[in-house]
Symmetry: C2
Subunit: 263 residues, 2 copies
Amino acid sequence: GWARAVRGLLLDVSGVLYDSGADGGVPIAGSAEAVRRIKASGLKLRLCTNETQATRENFVKKLRGMGFDVSVAEVTAPAPAACHILKERGLRPHLLVHDDLVPEFAEIDKTNPNCVVLGDAAENFTYANLNEAFRLLIGMEKPVLLSLGRGRYYKETDGLKLDVGAYMKALEYACDVQAEVVGKPSKRFFESALAEMGVPPEQAIMIGDDIVNDVGGAQRCGMRALQVRTGKYRPSDENHPEVKPDAYVNNLAEAVDIILQQL
Amino acid sequence: GWARAVRGLLLDVSGVLYDSGADGGVPIAGSAEAVRRIKASGLKLRLCTNETQATRENFVKKLRGMGFDVSVAEVTAPAPAACHILKERGLRPHLLVHDDLVPEFAEIDKTNPNCVVLGDAAENFTYANLNEAFRLLIGMEKPVLLSLGRGRYYKETDGLKLDVGAYMKALEYACDVQAEVVGKPSKRFFESALAEMGVPPEQAIMIGDDIVNDVGGAQRCGMRALQVRTGKYRPSDENHPEVKPDAYVNNLAEAVDIILQQL
């Protein structure tokens, strides 16, 4: 079956470990215990997240507060990946991101911007801020837009919210430019998570709630991928025209049960 | 030349008659006089606008205050066209539009919405309002999104602003739906303006500053179309890969000079 010959697991976080919300979030039943069992088993573990509403430090602090035994060194997230690209290419970003993400860019030169970095800015997605990012882009000879993810929406405890991908599309259309996506489902992002684990794709399984960005993205890198029926999962995902997970599981705990039985 | 056998002129308004701004706007030199000369010549005149920040009444009041001799009966605008479609199809809209446009929908049943109508909501394009429109759409069995235009951006006296098309793209992407555009460049919209004038397309000329929505849209209906070098016109428009105006003019006054010479 799909659980054979596994050495490492990549876990999406929101919708797999917990359901996020304005008030912090609620752990999904069995997930904290599942993380402990993964670690006790000797499997490699990596949190592979498109979270851009907090620094990795605060993100991990929140997870630990919910009972998850995880550390900053186990997190692959878009902001550090973007910083790598910015340095590599001498780009100075204008940031349209969540206030709590800004410290991740502390060491990046942001004077006289020559690109825009777009994250899930949430309440910072104001009319004024969107116009400002738009004007900077349209004024560049060759506009560069880095988008920290391309998700359509996500679920918080008080309802569905538009994700960064929707705002990316708005700016792409207005400026007639194609964004470069940093984070899932970009191949480079999954590959850096695998490299950090030291596990080849054929020995890794991605577990996520997003049929396109988690499951489809990981499969394109040669990994197996499971969709959990938690978080933003919707029954219609099971008829997706392009992406078919290697398996469905009700939740992370069930996935870990099956994987550990096969070790 | 292009000015032969004309019986009617369709004029875009913002960027052709005046430059809009938060403080009302500034007439473009020679435009008020040009409108008077069109009327004195016996040519039919129609204002064909995607303006959705005001009712036709207030829109015309503003234009008259700037010295333009125009009346409500001469305006073709998206909101009345949308009301026609809503009634025809029994649709009850949730409105994400500018506060000042809401009275145009006074006679439309808005209880228990089964579609979303999107206009240039400007300051109403808040994170909360966009999430609300998104949630309504994603919750519909078959989401219906009517967009009052598909413009990318427009120019106000204090700078460029994202137009309704950018927000349309955001909702289209998030909900995996295709918006129905009411207003320019929709063929139905131009055709109703022509019908209201009683002029066939081959005897009409559209004059606008938007290469795609004014010029391209009118040409697809069999009209001739001029681009003025005012408003949002940019020199790069003259290398547009798909649309080529029948002529360029520096401004409305110059277009009217040439057209009247040929009568």
